[in-house]
């Protein structure tokens, strides 16, 4: 070999490519057949995803129409959707670069979207009885290497819930028989779940409420069974209103004294003692709905600060050491929807690129 020979061993090429943004990789599929085969391979998609999971990005929709960016914060970006949005979208989870969303609260039809590759796939409605209420959440089942949408729904006014699960691999819904320990109703914001640690979590009020208090129910995607997660030991006048997720950890958002919002994070999954108070916010000067709520998004400044979305209003930058709000941004639009996603090449279709 000589100094002019620049062919790479596969290990080196993968190392280089797996650090590139999706946009570049999609371009480089045109370089040669072997490079295309490498980039499209399941092995490489996973390799690239493991690396890009470490970088969280914020995506948001703003306005009553899908209008221009009005929020001035460098961490958040808006992307044009390749599909038409007829209403303000609701996001039902973001996982490994895939996002699940629907066209507004009245539209029960949902779709999966990869913002990095721009591919999207409408999800067929489940057959059978019409759902009158549905709470959806996207998650990943590691046991079957499949992306699933879990829907907690009820078909009539008895408010008895059932679980149906959509599998991307099978492109079909499946009813999962469940024996719930008691009657309940999901509480958190629009009843959406939070996918953490392989399970979708909901904050539920047990019926009759408030006698029986609320619980965190978790549905494990691999075992398809429910279990409960212990809540933090908070003071009596605290009332849990929402769940959230921060850097892969489950959060509980609670209110007290009308306009105070506290965010707790479970540092070690399943360990009650590991719940820790992350932020204590006073929402007096921010117009929110009642009860006021926030959604933790990402850590910034190397973990010193945390960014939180104030429901539909804007962003708060909170200093974790000084335990205070540093800055707030509000959008000009009447509505904002923000969520965290990562870049990935994860395909939505088998043989996604085959023409």
């Amino acid at each position: 070999m000589s100094d002019s020979d620049v062919s790479f061993p596969a290990g080196v090429l993968e190392d280089i490519l797996s650090g590139l943004p999706v946009k570049s990789l999609l371009r480089f599929r045109s370089v040669s057949k072997s490079l295309r085969a490498l980039i499209d391979s399941t092995y490489f998609v996973n390799l690239h995803m493991q690396r890009s999971m470490k970088t969280n990005r914020i995506l948001y929709f703003s306005g009553d129409s899908h209008g221009p960016i009005t929020l001035r914060n460098p961490s958040a970006v808006t992307l044009e959707t390749p599909f038409e949005l007829t209403a303000f979208p609701l996001v039902y989870g973001s996982c490994h670069g895939l996002v699940c969303l629907s066209n507004g609260p009245d539209d029960l039809s949902i779709l999966l979207w990869n913002p990095s590759t721009r591919k999207y796939k409408p999800i067929p409605e489940p057959l059978g009885d019409e759902d009158i209420i549905a709470f959806d959440q996207l998650g990943y089942d590691h046991a079957s290497n499949d992306y699933k949408v879990v829907r907690l729904s009820c078909t009539d006014s008895t408010m008895v819930f059932r679980v149906v699960v959509y599998s991307l691999k099978l492109d079909a819904w499946q009813l999962v028989e469940q024996d719930f320990p008691s009657s309940f109703f999901p509480v958190n914001c629009y009843g959406q779940g939070v996918f953490v640690n392989g399970a979708v979590h909901w904050l539920v009020n047990q019926i009759p409420f408030p006698d029986k208090g609320n619980l965190i129910y978790a549905f494990d995607l691999a075992t398809q069974s429910f279990y409960t997660v212990p809540q933090p030991q908070y003071p009596n006048n605290f009332s849990a209103t929402n769940l959230g997720k921060l850097d892969g950890r489950l959060c509980v958002i609670c209110t007290h004294e009308v306009s105070n919002v506290d965010v707790w994070v479970m540092c070690e999954y399943g360990v009650k003692e590991s719940w820790s108070n992350l932020a204590a916010l006073s929402m007096n000067d921010m117009i929110t709905q009642a009860p006021p709520t926030v959604k933790p998004l990402i850590y910034t400044k190397k973990g010193r600060d945390v960014l939180l979305e104030v429901h539909k209003q804007g962003l708060i930058d909170y200093d974790l050491q000084e335990k205070r709000t540093i800055e707030r941004w509000t959008g000009d639009a009447s509505r904002i929807c923000m969520f965290v996603y990562q870049e990935s090449l994860v395909p939505l279709f088998r043989n996604e690129h085959v023409v």
């Binding site: 100094d3 190392d15 650090g19 370089v31 490079l35």
Partner: protein, 151 residues
């Protein structure tokens, strides 16, 4: 009495380099060779790497072994990869064969940053990759990627 043992590394083109054993051990491949080679292994062949590249690799290892906590390590690394493309590629390959993670990460990242800005044609030229798509296939790829405007 402690003597600092030296090792001789021999490149593909016969160039030899005498280095402190501690420096040589920064390469896990060499570490393995020494540990399994017995007491006589004072000369180690590195046939995957030429003399020019090996001398640079040794320079990297020396700095990282002898002064791992120095304040200028970061700027050393930054300057170390300010070399032309071909040298960078050779460094990446050498660090892969010689199992020197720090250098592999450093050179891979630098090459990745170079890749980002390149067009498809430039990638082919730089890395001597043949375009084996038919014109029809290329047209389909172009259509698929029409939103990804940077050609």
């Amino acid at each position: 009495m402690t003597s600092s043992k030296t090792i001789v590394l021999r490149s593909s083109d016969g160039a030899t380099f005498e280095v402190d054993e501690a420096v040589a051990l920064h390469s896990l491949m060499i570490k393995h060779r020494i540990e399994t080679g017995g007491a006589d292994s004072t000369t180690i062949d590195v046939p995957e790497v030429t003399g020019n590249t090996l001398s640079k690799v040794i320079e990297y290892c020396k700095k990282h072994v002898e002064a791992p906590n120095s304040d200028d390590l970061k700027s050393f690394d930054t300057d170390f990869v300010k070399v032309d493309q071909a040298v960078l590629c050779h460094l990446a390959k050498a660090s892969y064969y010689m199992n020197i993670k720090g250098l592999l990460d450093l050179s891979s990242k630098t090459i990745a940053d170079m890749f980002k800005g390149k067009t498809v044609e430039q990638i082919r030229e730089t890395f001597h990759i043949k375009n084996d798509f038919t014109p029809e296939e290329e047209e389909e790829l172009r259509k698929e990627n029409s939103w990804n405007l940077f050609v």
